[in-house]
Protein backbone atom coordinates (compact mmCIF):
# COMPACT_ATOMS: atom_id res chain seq x y z
CA UNK A 1 0.00 0.00 0.00
CA UNK A 2 2.71 2.46 0.99
CA UNK A 3 4.74 1.34 -1.98
CA UNK A 4 1.72 1.99 -4.13
CA UNK A 5 1.28 5.53 -2.73
CA UNK A 6 4.94 6.32 -3.33
CA UNK A 7 4.65 5.21 -6.91
CA UNK A 8 1.46 7.20 -7.23
CA UNK A 9 3.16 10.39 -5.98
CA UNK A 10 6.04 9.79 -8.36
CA UNK A 11 3.63 9.58 -11.26
CA UNK A 12 1.94 12.81 -10.16
CA UNK A 13 4.86 14.91 -11.37
CA UNK A 14 6.16 14.81 -14.94
CA UNK A 15 9.25 16.74 -15.89
CA UNK A 16 10.45 17.14 -19.45
CA UNK A 17 13.63 19.22 -19.14
CA UNK A 18 14.33 19.07 -22.85
CA UNK A 19 11.07 20.87 -23.60
CA UNK A 20 11.09 22.98 -20.44
CA UNK A 21 7.89 21.43 -19.16
CA UNK A 22 6.92 20.72 -15.55
CA UNK A 23 3.48 19.16 -15.02
CA UNK A 24 1.51 18.12 -11.98
CA UNK A 25 -1.30 15.61 -12.14
CA UNK A 26 -4.64 17.12 -11.22
CA UNK A 27 -5.37 13.88 -9.37
CA UNK A 28 -2.96 15.18 -6.71
CA UNK A 29 -5.65 17.69 -5.71
CA UNK A 30 -8.53 15.23 -5.66
CA UNK A 31 -7.31 11.70 -4.88
CA UNK A 32 -8.30 10.52 -1.38
CA UNK A 33 -5.41 8.01 -1.28
CA UNK A 34 -2.89 10.78 -1.89
CA UNK A 35 -4.63 12.93 0.68
CA UNK A 36 -4.30 10.15 3.25
CA UNK A 37 -0.63 9.75 2.31
CA UNK A 38 -0.09 13.49 2.79
CA UNK A 39 -1.58 13.36 6.27
CA UNK A 40 0.82 10.56 7.13
CA UNK A 41 4.02 11.57 5.35
CA UNK A 42 3.75 15.36 5.42
CA UNK A 43 1.44 16.50 8.19
CA UNK A 44 2.58 13.86 10.67
CA UNK A 45 6.28 14.48 9.92
CA UNK A 46 6.88 18.12 9.05
CA UNK A 47 7.05 21.07 11.42
CA UNK A 48 3.62 22.71 11.54
CA UNK A 49 2.93 26.25 12.72
CA UNK A 50 0.83 26.53 15.87
CA UNK A 51 0.99 30.18 16.91
CA UNK A 52 3.07 33.17 17.92
CA UNK A 53 4.23 33.54 21.49
CA UNK A 54 2.72 37.03 21.77
CA UNK A 55 -0.69 35.37 21.58
CA UNK A 56 -0.02 34.14 25.10
CA UNK A 57 1.09 37.32 26.87
CA UNK A 58 0.62 36.11 30.44
CA UNK A 59 1.28 32.99 32.45
CA UNK A 60 -1.73 30.63 32.32
CA UNK A 61 -3.05 32.02 29.00
CA UNK A 62 -4.22 29.35 26.62
CA UNK A 63 -5.67 28.97 23.14
CA UNK A 64 -7.18 25.91 21.53
CA UNK A 65 -6.41 25.12 17.91
CA UNK A 66 -6.75 22.29 15.44
CA UNK A 67 -3.49 21.34 13.77
CA UNK A 68 -3.59 18.67 11.08
CA UNK A 69 -6.91 17.57 12.51
CA UNK A 70 -5.65 17.19 16.10
CA UNK A 71 -7.13 19.36 18.83
CA UNK A 72 -4.31 21.01 20.79
CA UNK A 73 -3.98 23.48 23.62
CA UNK A 74 -1.33 26.13 22.98
CA UNK A 75 -0.53 27.63 26.36
CA UNK A 76 1.83 29.43 28.65
CA UNK A 77 2.12 27.46 31.85
CA UNK A 78 2.15 28.86 35.38
CA UNK A 79 5.96 29.14 35.22
CA UNK A 80 5.84 31.02 31.91
CA UNK A 81 6.92 28.21 29.58
CA UNK A 82 5.05 27.85 26.29
CA UNK A 83 3.67 24.36 25.76
CA UNK A 84 1.44 22.46 23.42
CA UNK A 85 -0.66 19.63 24.79
CA UNK A 86 -3.03 17.37 22.92
CA UNK A 87 -6.49 18.46 23.97
CA UNK A 88 -7.73 15.02 24.91
CA UNK A 89 -8.38 13.71 28.37
CA UNK A 90 -6.12 10.79 29.34
CA UNK A 91 -9.16 9.17 30.93
CA UNK A 92 -11.73 8.61 28.22
CA UNK A 93 -11.00 11.25 25.70
CA UNK A 94 -13.10 14.34 26.28
CA UNK A 95 -11.54 17.62 25.24
CA UNK A 96 -9.88 18.88 28.38
CA UNK A 97 -10.92 22.41 27.54
CA UNK A 98 -13.61 23.43 25.11
CA UNK A 99 -12.89 27.16 25.24
CA UNK A 100 -11.30 28.94 22.32
CA UNK A 101 -9.14 31.02 24.62
CA UNK A 102 -8.83 31.69 28.28
CA UNK A 103 -6.64 31.76 31.31
CA UNK A 104 -6.42 28.71 33.56
CA UNK A 105 -3.99 27.30 36.08
CA UNK A 106 -5.93 24.06 36.03
CA UNK A 107 -7.97 22.20 33.49
CA UNK A 108 -10.73 20.10 34.85
CA UNK A 109 -12.37 17.65 32.52
CA UNK A 110 -16.12 18.06 32.05
CA UNK A 111 -16.77 14.34 31.85
CA UNK A 112 -15.58 12.76 35.12
CA UNK A 113 -13.66 15.63 36.62
CA UNK A 114 -10.04 14.56 36.29
CA UNK A 115 -7.95 17.68 36.80
CA UNK A 116 -4.61 18.76 35.36
CA UNK A 117 -2.13 21.51 35.98
CA UNK A 118 -1.41 23.56 32.88
CA UNK A 119 1.85 21.67 32.56
CA UNK A 120 -0.33 18.65 31.77
CA UNK A 121 0.35 16.97 35.11
CA UNK A 122 -2.64 15.04 36.46
CA UNK A 123 -3.42 16.25 39.96
CA UNK A 124 -6.74 14.70 40.68
CA UNK A 125 -8.39 11.51 39.58
CA UNK A 126 -12.05 11.01 40.42
CA UNK A 127 -12.39 8.53 43.28
CA UNK A 128 -8.68 7.79 43.31
CA UNK A 129 -9.15 5.47 46.30
CA UNK A 130 -11.00 2.99 44.11
CA UNK A 131 -7.98 2.53 41.81
CA UNK A 132 -4.82 0.46 42.26
CA UNK A 133 -2.46 2.31 44.68
CA UNK A 134 0.12 2.87 41.90
CA UNK A 135 -2.43 4.03 39.38
CA UNK A 136 -1.38 7.66 39.46
CA UNK A 137 2.36 6.99 39.76
CA UNK A 138 5.00 8.61 37.57
CA UNK A 139 2.84 10.73 35.35
CA UNK A 140 0.82 7.79 34.08
CA UNK A 141 -2.30 9.93 33.72
CA UNK A 142 -0.80 13.21 32.53
CA UNK A 143 -2.05 14.99 29.44
CA UNK A 144 -0.01 14.04 26.40
CA UNK A 145 2.16 16.81 24.96
CA UNK A 146 2.72 16.99 21.20
CA UNK A 147 5.82 14.90 20.44
CA UNK A 148 7.98 17.89 19.50
CA UNK A 149 7.42 21.59 20.09
CA UNK A 150 10.04 24.21 19.21
CA UNK A 151 10.16 27.88 18.32
CA UNK A 152 12.05 30.25 16.11
CA UNK A 153 11.80 34.04 16.55
CA UNK A 154 8.55 33.72 18.47
CA UNK A 155 6.93 31.34 15.97
CA UNK A 156 5.97 28.04 17.61
CA UNK A 157 5.79 24.85 15.60
CA UNK A 158 4.89 21.29 16.53
CA UNK A 159 5.96 18.06 15.00
CA UNK A 160 4.04 14.82 15.41
CA UNK A 161 7.20 12.87 14.59
CA UNK A 162 9.37 12.45 17.70
CA UNK A 163 12.39 11.69 15.49
CA UNK A 164 12.12 14.78 13.27
CA UNK A 165 15.17 16.99 12.72
CA UNK A 166 15.25 20.13 14.87
CA UNK A 167 13.06 23.05 13.83
CA UNK A 168 16.17 25.16 13.20
CA UNK A 169 17.56 22.55 10.80
CA UNK A 170 14.18 22.10 9.18
CA UNK A 171 13.81 25.83 8.53
CA UNK A 172 17.39 25.98 7.25
CA UNK A 173 17.81 28.81 4.76
CA UNK A 174 14.28 30.05 5.43
CA UNK A 175 15.52 31.39 8.79
CA UNK A 176 17.21 34.36 7.15
CA UNK A 177 13.87 35.44 5.69
CA UNK A 178 12.09 34.99 9.00
CA UNK A 179 14.85 37.13 10.54
CA UNK A 180 14.45 39.91 8.02
CA UNK A 181 10.76 40.13 8.90
CA UNK A 182 11.18 39.88 12.66
CA UNK A 183 14.12 42.32 12.70
CA UNK A 184 11.86 45.09 11.39
CA UNK A 185 10.58 45.63 14.92
CA UNK A 186 12.61 47.68 17.33
CA UNK A 187 11.14 45.81 20.29
CA UNK A 188 9.55 42.66 18.92
CA UNK A 189 6.88 41.60 16.50
CA UNK A 190 3.57 40.73 18.03
CA UNK A 191 0.21 39.56 16.84
CA UNK A 192 -2.34 42.35 16.43
CA UNK A 193 -5.83 41.38 17.51
CA UNK A 194 -6.93 37.88 16.85
CA UNK A 195 -6.58 35.19 14.28
CA UNK A 196 -9.05 35.50 11.39
CA UNK A 197 -10.57 32.29 10.11
CA UNK A 198 -12.17 31.46 6.83
CA UNK A 199 -12.48 28.46 4.59
CA UNK A 200 -12.17 27.49 0.97
CA UNK A 201 -13.62 24.62 -1.01
CA UNK A 202 -10.26 23.83 -2.50
CA UNK A 203 -7.30 21.56 -1.90
CA UNK A 204 -4.76 22.97 0.56
CA UNK A 205 -1.88 22.71 -1.90
CA UNK A 206 -3.45 25.35 -4.11
CA UNK A 207 -3.09 27.92 -1.37
CA UNK A 208 0.55 26.89 -0.89
CA UNK A 209 1.01 27.51 -4.62
CA UNK A 210 -0.98 30.74 -4.63
CA UNK A 211 0.86 32.33 -1.72
CA UNK A 212 4.16 32.63 -3.60
CA UNK A 213 2.57 33.17 -7.02
CA UNK A 214 3.32 36.67 -8.28
CA UNK A 215 2.17 35.90 -11.80
CA UNK A 216 -1.51 36.11 -10.89
CA UNK A 217 -1.42 39.49 -9.18
CA UNK A 218 -2.07 41.63 -12.25
CA UNK A 219 -4.78 39.43 -13.71
CA UNK A 220 -6.65 38.35 -10.61
CA UNK A 221 -6.36 41.46 -8.45
CA UNK A 222 -7.10 44.45 -10.71
CA UNK A 223 -9.62 45.92 -8.29
CA UNK A 224 -7.01 45.91 -5.55
CA UNK A 225 -4.38 47.42 -7.83
CA UNK A 226 -6.85 50.09 -8.98
CA UNK A 227 -7.62 50.92 -5.37
CA UNK A 228 -4.05 51.31 -4.25
CA UNK A 229 -3.11 53.16 -7.40
CA UNK A 230 -5.87 55.67 -6.81
CA UNK A 231 -4.95 55.94 -3.15
CA UNK A 232 -1.25 56.33 -3.86
CA UNK A 233 -1.81 59.09 -6.39
CA UNK A 234 -0.09 57.33 -9.21
CA UNK A 235 3.02 56.17 -7.38
CA UNK A 236 2.24 52.55 -8.12
CA UNK A 237 4.03 51.42 -11.22
CA UNK A 238 2.56 48.41 -12.88
CA UNK A 239 4.47 46.21 -15.17
CA UNK A 240 7.39 43.89 -14.75
CA UNK A 241 8.17 43.03 -11.14
CA UNK A 242 11.82 43.40 -10.19
CA UNK A 243 12.98 40.56 -8.03
CA UNK A 244 13.47 36.86 -7.89
CA UNK A 245 12.17 33.63 -6.48
CA UNK A 246 14.54 31.48 -4.50
CA UNK A 247 14.60 27.79 -3.59
CA UNK A 248 15.42 27.69 0.13
CA UNK A 249 15.60 23.90 0.39
CA UNK A 250 13.28 21.45 2.18
CA UNK A 251 10.34 22.67 0.10
CA UNK A 252 10.62 26.24 1.38
CA UNK A 253 10.76 29.08 -1.12
CA UNK A 254 10.56 32.84 -1.20
CA UNK A 255 9.84 35.54 -3.73
CA UNK A 256 11.66 38.75 -2.88
CA UNK A 257 10.96 41.77 -4.98
CA UNK A 258 10.81 45.55 -5.02
CA UNK A 259 7.54 46.73 -3.47
CA UNK A 260 5.35 49.01 -5.52
CA UNK A 261 3.14 50.08 -2.60
CA UNK A 262 3.44 51.71 0.78
CA UNK A 263 5.03 49.62 3.52
CA UNK A 264 4.60 50.54 7.18
CA UNK A 265 8.28 49.60 7.52
CA UNK A 266 9.40 51.60 5.71
CA UNK A 267 8.26 52.88 2.35
CA UNK A 268 6.25 56.07 2.43
CA UNK A 269 3.48 56.92 -0.04
CA UNK A 270 1.84 60.35 -0.46
CA UNK A 271 -1.54 58.99 0.70
CA UNK A 272 -0.15 58.78 4.22
CA UNK A 273 0.68 62.50 4.42
CA UNK A 274 3.74 64.51 5.43
CA UNK A 275 3.48 63.66 9.10
CA UNK A 276 3.75 59.98 8.33
CA UNK A 277 6.78 60.72 6.16
CA UNK A 278 8.73 61.95 9.18
CA UNK A 279 7.70 58.84 11.11
CA UNK A 280 8.71 56.53 8.30
CA UNK A 281 12.00 58.34 7.74
CA UNK A 282 12.77 57.82 11.41
CA UNK A 283 12.00 54.10 11.13
CA UNK A 284 14.25 53.84 8.11
CA UNK A 285 17.05 55.67 9.93
CA UNK A 286 16.75 53.19 12.79
CA UNK A 287 17.04 50.27 10.37
CA UNK A 288 20.15 51.81 8.82
CA UNK A 289 21.66 52.29 12.25
CA UNK A 290 20.96 48.72 13.32
CA UNK A 291 21.59 46.82 10.11
CA UNK A 292 23.49 49.08 7.72
CA UNK A 293 22.22 50.80 4.60
CA UNK A 294 22.06 47.80 2.32
CA UNK A 295 20.09 45.52 4.60
CA UNK A 296 17.88 48.42 5.70
CA UNK A 297 16.93 49.09 2.09
CA UNK A 298 16.19 45.46 1.54
CA UNK A 299 14.04 45.34 4.67
CA UNK A 300 12.14 48.52 3.86
CA UNK A 301 11.74 48.55 0.09
CA UNK A 302 11.43 44.87 -0.75
CA UNK A 303 8.40 42.71 -0.28
CA UNK A 304 8.61 39.01 0.47
CA UNK A 305 6.27 36.07 0.11
CA UNK A 306 7.74 33.14 2.01
CA UNK A 307 6.35 29.61 2.07
CA UNK A 308 7.58 27.33 4.80
CA UNK A 309 6.71 23.84 3.71
CA UNK A 310 4.05 22.61 3.94
CA UNK A 311 1.56 25.19 5.18
CA UNK A 312 2.96 28.36 6.70
CA UNK A 313 3.05 31.53 4.67
CA UNK A 314 4.75 34.70 5.85
CA UNK A 315 3.75 37.58 3.64
CA UNK A 316 5.79 40.70 4.24
CA UNK A 317 4.00 42.87 1.72
CA UNK A 318 1.85 45.94 2.51
CA UNK A 319 1.59 44.53 6.02
CA UNK A 320 3.04 41.42 7.60
CA UNK A 321 0.80 38.41 7.84
CA UNK A 322 1.08 34.84 8.89
CA UNK A 323 -1.21 32.38 7.18
CA UNK A 324 -1.67 28.69 7.72
CA UNK A 325 -4.17 26.26 6.27
CA UNK A 326 -5.35 22.87 7.41
CA UNK A 327 -5.95 20.01 4.97
CA UNK A 328 -9.45 19.16 6.10
CA UNK A 329 -10.43 17.19 2.99
CA UNK A 330 -9.21 16.82 -0.60
CA UNK A 331 -11.45 19.73 -1.56
CA UNK A 332 -11.71 21.75 1.63
CA UNK A 333 -9.33 23.73 3.81
CA UNK A 334 -9.60 25.91 6.85
CA UNK A 335 -7.43 28.99 6.77
CA UNK A 336 -6.12 31.08 9.65
CA UNK A 337 -4.53 34.50 9.24
CA UNK A 338 -2.75 36.74 11.69
CA UNK A 339 -1.45 40.28 11.34
CA UNK A 340 1.84 40.89 13.10
CA UNK A 341 3.36 44.26 13.84
CA UNK A 342 6.16 45.78 15.90
CA UNK A 343 5.18 46.12 19.54
CA UNK A 344 6.28 49.77 19.48
CA UNK A 345 3.54 50.64 16.96
CA UNK A 346 0.75 49.92 19.44
CA UNK A 347 -1.55 52.93 19.67
CA UNK A 348 0.36 54.95 17.04
CA UNK A 349 -0.86 56.11 13.60
CA UNK A 350 1.54 53.57 12.08
CA UNK A 351 -0.67 50.82 13.45
CA UNK A 352 -3.80 52.28 11.87
CA UNK A 353 -2.00 52.44 8.48
CA UNK A 354 -0.92 48.85 8.87
CA UNK A 355 -4.42 47.65 9.73
CA UNK A 356 -5.87 49.54 6.78
CA UNK A 357 -3.32 47.89 4.51
CA UNK A 358 -4.17 44.52 5.95
CA UNK A 359 -7.93 44.89 5.63
CA UNK A 360 -7.72 46.33 2.12
CA UNK A 361 -5.92 43.30 0.81
CA UNK A 362 -6.21 40.36 3.11
CA UNK A 363 -8.80 38.37 4.88
CA UNK A 364 -12.26 37.34 3.80
CA UNK A 365 -13.49 40.93 3.63
CA UNK A 366 -10.51 42.33 1.73
CA UNK A 367 -10.08 43.37 -1.89
CA UNK A 368 -7.80 40.50 -2.89
CA UNK A 369 -8.27 37.38 -0.77
CA UNK A 370 -11.86 36.68 -1.92
CA UNK A 371 -10.66 36.71 -5.53
CA UNK A 372 -7.85 34.28 -4.68
CA UNK A 373 -10.30 31.97 -2.98
CA UNK A 374 -12.67 32.12 -5.92
CA UNK A 375 -9.81 31.25 -8.27
CA UNK A 376 -8.81 28.26 -6.14
CA UNK A 377 -12.38 27.04 -5.86
CA UNK A 378 -12.79 27.46 -9.58
CA UNK A 379 -9.77 25.19 -10.16
CA UNK A 380 -11.15 22.62 -7.75
CA UNK A 381 -14.50 22.58 -9.55
CA UNK A 382 -12.78 22.21 -12.90
CA UNK A 383 -10.64 19.30 -11.68
CA UNK A 384 -13.76 17.21 -12.21
CA UNK A 385 -12.54 17.16 -15.83
CA UNK A 386 -9.13 15.76 -14.84
CA UNK A 387 -9.54 12.35 -16.41
CA UNK A 388 -9.72 13.90 -19.87
CA UNK A 389 -7.47 16.92 -19.11
CA UNK A 390 -5.05 15.51 -16.53
CA UNK A 391 -2.15 17.97 -16.18
CA UNK A 392 -1.56 21.32 -14.48
CA UNK A 393 1.37 23.27 -15.85
CA UNK A 394 4.07 24.88 -13.69
CA UNK A 395 6.77 25.41 -16.30
CA UNK A 396 7.18 29.17 -16.22
CA UNK A 397 10.86 30.06 -16.08
CA UNK A 398 12.10 26.46 -16.20
CA UNK A 399 15.64 26.61 -17.59
CA UNK A 400 15.25 30.35 -18.30
CA UNK A 401 16.79 33.48 -16.79
CA UNK A 402 15.16 33.99 -13.36
CA UNK A 403 12.16 36.26 -13.03
CA UNK A 404 10.04 37.18 -10.00
CA UNK A 405 6.95 35.74 -11.64
CA UNK A 406 8.47 32.31 -12.30
CA UNK A 407 6.70 29.21 -11.08
CA UNK A 408 9.87 28.15 -9.32
CA UNK A 409 8.42 28.28 -5.77
CA UNK A 410 5.58 26.02 -6.88
CA UNK A 411 8.01 23.52 -8.42
CA UNK A 412 10.08 23.58 -5.23
CA UNK A 413 6.92 22.83 -3.27
CA UNK A 414 5.89 19.93 -5.48
CA UNK A 415 9.32 18.31 -5.55
CA UNK A 416 9.41 18.36 -1.74
CA UNK A 417 5.88 16.97 -1.72
CA UNK A 418 6.95 14.11 -3.95
CA UNK A 419 10.10 13.43 -1.91
CA UNK A 420 8.08 13.29 1.29
CA UNK A 421 5.52 10.90 -0.13
CA UNK A 422 8.23 8.69 -1.62
CA UNK A 423 10.36 8.73 1.53
CA UNK A 424 8.50 6.02 3.39
CA UNK A 425 8.85 3.73 0.45
CA UNK A 426 12.62 4.22 0.40
CA UNK A 427 13.18 3.44 4.09
Amino acid sequence: MQHHQGAHADAAIRIDEARGRFSVSRAAYTDPALHAAELEEIFARCWLFVGHDSELPKANDFLTRTIAGRPVVFLRDKAGAVRCLLNICPHRGAQVTRQKRGSAKLFSCIYHGWAFENTGKAISIAQAETYHPDFNAAGANDMVPVPRFESYRGLWFLNFDANAVSLADYLGNAREYVDIVMDQAEARMQVVGEVQEYSARANWKMLAENSTDILHVETLHPTYLDLIRTNSEGTIVRGRVQGKSIDLGNGHAVVERVASYGRPIARWIPLWGEEAKAEIDAIFARLVKSYGEERAKRMAYNARNLLIFPNLVINDIMSVTLRTFQPSATDYMEISVWAIAPAEEAGKPAMARRLTNFLEFLGPGGFATPDDIEALESCQRAFAASREAPWNDLSKGLGQAPDATDELPQRVFWLAWRDRLMQRKAT
Binding site: V192, Y198, S199, A200, T223, L355, G365, I373, R381
Partner: protein
Protein backbone atom coordinates in the same frame (compact mmCIF):
# COMPACT_ATOMS: atom_id res chain seq x y z
CA UNK B 1 -39.43 59.03 19.69
CA UNK B 2 -42.01 56.50 18.57
CA UNK B 3 -42.10 58.39 15.28
CA UNK B 4 -38.31 58.26 15.07
CA UNK B 5 -38.39 54.52 15.65
CA UNK B 6 -40.88 53.92 12.86
CA UNK B 7 -38.77 56.04 10.57
CA UNK B 8 -35.58 54.21 11.58
CA UNK B 9 -37.27 50.85 11.05
CA UNK B 10 -38.28 51.93 7.57
CA UNK B 11 -34.74 53.14 6.84
CA UNK B 12 -33.21 49.82 7.89
CA UNK B 13 -35.67 47.89 5.76
CA UNK B 14 -34.92 50.20 2.86
CA UNK B 15 -31.17 49.67 3.28
CA UNK B 16 -31.60 45.90 3.09
CA UNK B 17 -33.86 46.20 0.07
CA UNK B 18 -31.45 48.48 -1.81
CA UNK B 19 -28.63 45.99 -1.24
CA UNK B 20 -30.81 43.10 -2.41
CA UNK B 21 -31.76 45.12 -5.49
CA UNK B 22 -28.13 46.11 -6.02
CA UNK B 23 -29.10 49.75 -6.19
CA UNK B 24 -25.66 50.83 -5.02
CA UNK B 25 -26.05 54.59 -5.57
CA UNK B 26 -29.24 54.74 -3.59
CA UNK B 27 -27.61 52.66 -0.88
CA UNK B 28 -24.56 54.92 -0.68
CA UNK B 29 -26.86 57.93 -0.53
CA UNK B 30 -28.18 56.67 2.81
CA UNK B 31 -24.74 57.26 4.29
CA UNK B 32 -23.21 60.47 5.53
CA UNK B 33 -19.88 61.46 4.03
CA UNK B 34 -18.08 60.72 7.30
CA UNK B 35 -20.01 57.53 7.99
CA UNK B 36 -18.10 54.84 9.80
CA UNK B 37 -18.70 51.23 8.78
CA UNK B 38 -17.26 48.71 11.18
CA UNK B 39 -17.47 44.96 11.50
CA UNK B 40 -15.33 43.95 14.47
CA UNK B 41 -13.68 40.54 14.70
CA UNK B 42 -14.25 38.10 17.54
CA UNK B 43 -11.61 37.83 20.27
CA UNK B 44 -13.22 34.90 22.02
CA UNK B 45 -16.56 33.11 22.07
CA UNK B 46 -18.20 36.12 23.65
CA UNK B 47 -16.11 39.21 23.02
CA UNK B 48 -15.46 41.28 19.91
CA UNK B 49 -12.56 43.61 19.21
CA UNK B 50 -13.10 47.04 20.65
CA UNK B 51 -10.97 49.47 18.66
CA UNK B 52 -10.56 49.36 14.87
CA UNK B 53 -7.44 51.56 15.09
CA UNK B 54 -5.61 49.16 17.37
CA UNK B 55 -7.08 45.76 16.68
CA UNK B 56 -7.84 43.81 13.59
CA UNK B 57 -11.44 44.05 12.39
CA UNK B 58 -13.22 42.09 9.69
CA UNK B 59 -14.17 45.26 7.82
CA UNK B 60 -13.47 48.84 8.78
CA UNK B 61 -14.00 52.10 6.90
CA UNK B 62 -13.68 55.49 8.53
CA UNK B 63 -15.72 57.22 5.82
CA UNK B 64 -18.16 56.66 2.97
CA UNK B 65 -15.26 56.76 0.50
CA UNK B 66 -14.34 53.23 1.62
CA UNK B 67 -17.86 52.05 0.81
CA UNK B 68 -17.62 53.77 -2.55
CA UNK B 69 -14.41 51.84 -3.25
CA UNK B 70 -16.25 48.62 -2.51
CA UNK B 71 -19.13 49.54 -4.79
CA UNK B 72 -16.65 50.37 -7.51
CA UNK B 73 -15.07 46.94 -7.09
CA UNK B 74 -18.47 45.25 -7.28
CA UNK B 75 -19.43 47.20 -10.39
CA UNK B 76 -16.11 46.89 -12.17
CA UNK B 77 -16.74 43.30 -13.20
CA UNK B 78 -13.02 42.77 -12.53
CA UNK B 79 -13.38 40.95 -9.23
CA UNK B 80 -13.98 37.27 -9.85
CA UNK B 81 -15.32 36.87 -6.33
CA UNK B 82 -18.00 39.48 -7.08
CA UNK B 83 -18.89 38.38 -10.60
CA UNK B 84 -21.47 37.03 -10.98
CA UNK B 85 -22.71 38.68 -7.84
CA UNK B 86 -24.34 36.50 -5.24
CA UNK B 87 -28.07 36.97 -4.74
CA UNK B 88 -29.13 38.09 -1.32
CA UNK B 89 -32.26 38.53 0.75
CA UNK B 90 -31.96 40.78 3.79
CA UNK B 91 -34.31 40.26 6.71
CA UNK B 92 -33.91 43.05 9.23
CA UNK B 93 -35.94 42.93 12.40
CA UNK B 94 -36.17 43.55 16.14
CA UNK B 95 -35.46 47.22 15.58
CA UNK B 96 -35.13 48.91 18.95
CA UNK B 97 -34.05 52.39 20.02
CA UNK B 98 -30.73 52.43 21.91
CA UNK B 99 -30.40 56.03 23.03
CA UNK B 100 -29.72 59.41 21.53
CA UNK B 101 -26.57 61.45 21.98
CA UNK B 102 -25.38 64.62 20.30
CA UNK B 103 -28.07 64.40 17.66
CA UNK B 104 -27.19 60.79 16.81
CA UNK B 105 -30.00 58.30 17.30
CA UNK B 106 -28.75 54.79 18.03
CA UNK B 107 -30.87 51.93 16.78
CA UNK B 108 -30.24 48.24 17.30
CA UNK B 109 -31.50 45.51 15.04
CA UNK B 110 -30.96 41.89 14.09
CA UNK B 111 -30.32 40.59 10.62
CA UNK B 112 -30.42 37.41 8.59
CA UNK B 113 -28.95 37.68 5.15
CA UNK B 114 -29.46 34.70 2.90
CA UNK B 115 -26.75 34.54 0.28
CA UNK B 116 -27.01 32.33 -2.79
CA UNK B 117 -24.02 31.60 -5.00
CA UNK B 118 -25.14 30.74 -8.51
CA UNK B 119 -21.80 29.16 -9.45
CA UNK B 120 -21.80 26.50 -6.79
CA UNK B 121 -25.56 26.42 -6.20
CA UNK B 122 -24.81 26.80 -2.51
CA UNK B 123 -26.32 29.08 0.06
CA UNK B 124 -25.17 30.55 3.30
CA UNK B 125 -26.83 32.63 5.96
CA UNK B 126 -24.94 35.45 7.59
CA UNK B 127 -26.60 36.59 10.77
CA UNK B 128 -25.96 38.89 13.67
CA UNK B 129 -26.79 42.23 15.18
CA UNK B 130 -26.33 45.74 13.94
CA UNK B 131 -26.19 49.10 15.63
CA UNK B 132 -26.91 52.06 13.39
CA UNK B 133 -26.12 55.63 14.41
CA UNK B 134 -28.61 57.86 12.56
CA UNK B 135 -28.70 61.61 12.04
CA UNK B 136 -31.31 63.85 10.52
CA UNK B 137 -30.33 65.74 7.40
CA UNK B 138 -32.70 67.70 5.19
CA UNK B 139 -35.58 66.21 7.09
CA UNK B 140 -34.60 62.58 6.54
CA UNK B 141 -32.64 60.08 8.62
CA UNK B 142 -29.23 59.12 7.32
CA UNK B 143 -26.54 56.73 8.52
CA UNK B 144 -23.58 58.13 10.42
CA UNK B 145 -22.37 54.83 11.89
CA UNK B 146 -22.99 51.18 11.23
CA UNK B 147 -21.51 48.53 13.46
CA UNK B 148 -22.17 44.96 12.44
CA UNK B 149 -21.52 42.13 14.84
CA UNK B 150 -21.44 39.05 12.66
CA UNK B 151 -22.39 36.06 14.80
CA UNK B 152 -21.17 33.32 12.43
CA UNK B 153 -17.68 34.50 11.67
CA UNK B 154 -16.02 31.44 10.12
CA UNK B 155 -16.53 32.75 6.64
CA UNK B 156 -16.96 30.61 3.57
CA UNK B 157 -14.96 32.16 0.74
CA UNK B 158 -15.82 35.81 1.14
CA UNK B 159 -17.63 38.56 2.92
CA UNK B 160 -18.78 41.83 1.46
CA UNK B 161 -20.86 44.82 2.50
CA UNK B 162 -23.91 43.47 0.70
CA UNK B 163 -23.82 40.18 2.67
CA UNK B 164 -24.74 41.76 5.98
Amino acid sequence: MSNGLAEATALLALEGMLLDEQDWDAWLALYEEDAEFWMPAWKSESQTTGDPQRELSLIYYAGRAGLEDRVQRIRSGKSVASTPLRRTAHMVGNVMPAGEEGGVLSVKSSFNVHVYDTRTKTQHVFFGRTTHGLVRRDGALRIRRKKVVLANDCIPTMLDIYCV
